[in-house]
Symmetry: C2
Subunit: 359 residues, 2 copies
């Protein structure tokens, strides 16, 4: 079993990774005498009873949300508040997010807002949420005009990553999670990128030891960045590699059509190609990025039918945009991402025209 801390002063918390991490750590992480487990209709049949069985000494309840990004909105969030208030759970209650990124983001945001802030615990059950959204305290819901536009920074009490949960993960979701794993290699960890290339086949076959290592290296990378910049005023923006293009894909298609990781994969490829067009990244590196994404079975091109104008319009609504300038995370090399805001805007338009017509 692996354990390390996200170092955020008074808001520090441990991440536990391995098989069977729920039983030894869940109950101890709860300080009050009530807990609400929030999960979704796909995850509930698999893991809800396992979690509730650890909480029999408490007053508990559970909320089963409809599954999918298209339900990550204020209306669904309200059902969590309704249950908390119907059950009179007070400000000493703990919310437990059992599921993927959508469940984690909504449960975390509900915990941030309920009675102006209660505890919560992340039990991410998808690879994507294990290596990304469960760590770092970003919570929120979508708005029809933009992803994660309404939310809060709210750190969990702990993150429990049970690698067994990946055995039941549909292959498409597993691949989508690998997109975020690859992201950490691209941002600032070339050795990890090379390790992923080397161990690709074993990872895709579900080798749990290698997977635990991939998750650990991803989470440690993320924890290091979050510790430096909890509220994203600087270096944390690097974690958005592939996300500005990716969010535009998700919003343009309608949430839930492509998985988040799929959109991020195409977004990272686009970031690499745009970096190449600007003369920042050499062709060989771009090919290495594309090869690993394709080998993993991830999309490299955005969905057909999205125009340059749709991309530009959605990207300028991105949270990282400022005064109409679309800040992008670009690559100087594999393992060397940086925030770029001073590229010529005509270059981006030109890039999109070319790249979208290459489909």
């Amino acid at each position: 079993m692996i354990q390390f801390d996200v170092d955020l002063g008074a808001r520090s918390y441990p991440i536990h990774i391995g098989q069977h991490v729920i039983e030894p750590f869940l109950a101890d992480a709860i300080s009050g005498d009530t807990a609400l487990v929030v999960t979704d209709e796909h995850v509930a049949p698999l893991f809800l009873n396992k979690v509730l069985s650890q909480l029999e000494h408490l007053k508990t309840d559970s909320v089963v949300l409809p599954a999918g990004e298209q339900h990550k909105n204020l209306t669904t969030l309200t059902t969590i508040f309704d249950r908390l208030l119907e059950r009179r759970f007070d400000r000493h209650t703990t919310l437990i997010a059992l599921g993927g990124g959508v469940v984690g983001d909504m449960t975390g945001f509900a915990a941030a807002c309920y009675q102006r802030g209660v505890d919560f615990i992340q039990i991410p059950t998808t690879l994507l949420s294990q290596v990304d959204s469960s760590v770092g305290g970003k919570t929120g819901v979508n708005h029809p005009l933009g992803k994660n536009m309404i939310g809060a920074f709210h750190q969990p009490q702990c993150v429990l990553i049970d690698t067994d949960s990946l055995c039941s993960l549909p292959p498409r979701e597993y691949k989508a999670g690998m997109a975020e794993v690859i992201k950490y290699g691209l941002i600032n960890d070339r050795p990890f990128f090379d390790w992923l290339v080397t161990h690709h086949d074993a990872l895709m076959e579900g080798n749990l030891n290698l997977l635990a290592e991939a998750i650990e290296r991803s989470c440690r990378n993320k924890a290091k960045i979050v510790a430096k910049d909890e509220r994203e005023s600087g270096v944390r923006a690097l974690l958005n590699l592939g996300h500005t293009f990716g969010h535009a894909i998700e919003a343009g298609l309608g949430y839930g059509k492509w998985l988040h990781g799929e959109a991020v994969a195409a977004g990272m490829s686009m970031a690499a190609h745009f970096s190449q067009q600007l003369g920042l990244l050499d062709k060989e590196a771009v090919q290495q990025v594309d090869a690993l994404l394709e080998h993993t079975g991830l999309p490299r091109l955005p969905p057909a039918g999205m125009s340059t104008q749709v991309f530009l319009s959605l990207m300028s609504a991105d949270k990282k945009a400022r005064r109409g300038v679309i800040n992008l995370i670009l690559l100087k090399n594999i393992g060397e991402a940086f925030v770029c805001s001073d590229y010529p805007s005509a270059e981006l338009e030109l890039f999109l025209d070319r790249y979208l017509s290459s489909q």
Copy 2:
């Protein structure tokens, strides 16, 4: 003009009190190049243009909410997010709350959540919001099952209290605001309570100098308590004197029937009488409390028709309740409030039976 700071380290901010405080301070408090003014249908005709005229160098817009506590909910909040996103206001935008407590609480909560947190400025236009809700960073909306159940702690950049705005305040709202002013005397400032008794008539006639002093003394009292306990883990709970009974009245009647200050006035009288029943407060002090409330034209008794059971049920859903125990702010003397959780629960039931039947 009066100025002093709410001392919260990196989140400290100034409060400006007096006539004409908007013009010299508003524009300087905005760091970005966009601002959204949020107000309501009553306040907009009176002050919106005055505020917008100070912001002509920025890209601005305004949202006019329906007036009243019954609209302080997630649905109304959504209209603020809609406008921000339609106008593509980015995370460097500033929200300006122009109005009473409802507008301030909702605007502050919208600012806390929009893109996970943007700046906001409080321009409270009612006496109640000037002395209470605009200071201290509590923001939020109501849920049908409880008041302010969904919210955040989010401190403003500054608070601009223009005493001129009180000239147009309806007398009923003015009186309701006085309830929160009186509260500060009761909590921990006996000299202020006595000062209020002495200057009562001049204050009720709208003497602006005395009013500015009453607002200053109220805000300083609140700022001192908030500085000690920003997130209400201790002494800040004292600010809820009268509010546990008061919130039950508001929820029991349906939000918007009684003004918040009216419910708090009855709640403070109830807290005084219950303190007397427990042998904590002498009869003379209770009479002084009731005399000042009545003299101000505030209700001392809860509305007819609310039963003991309705009170107990709503009070046990209060945010300060823990494990079913209703924590109350009670009085040992005028100017000596304390948090009480160890009274016999049968005493509270007995008190409510008696007090409600005394109507």
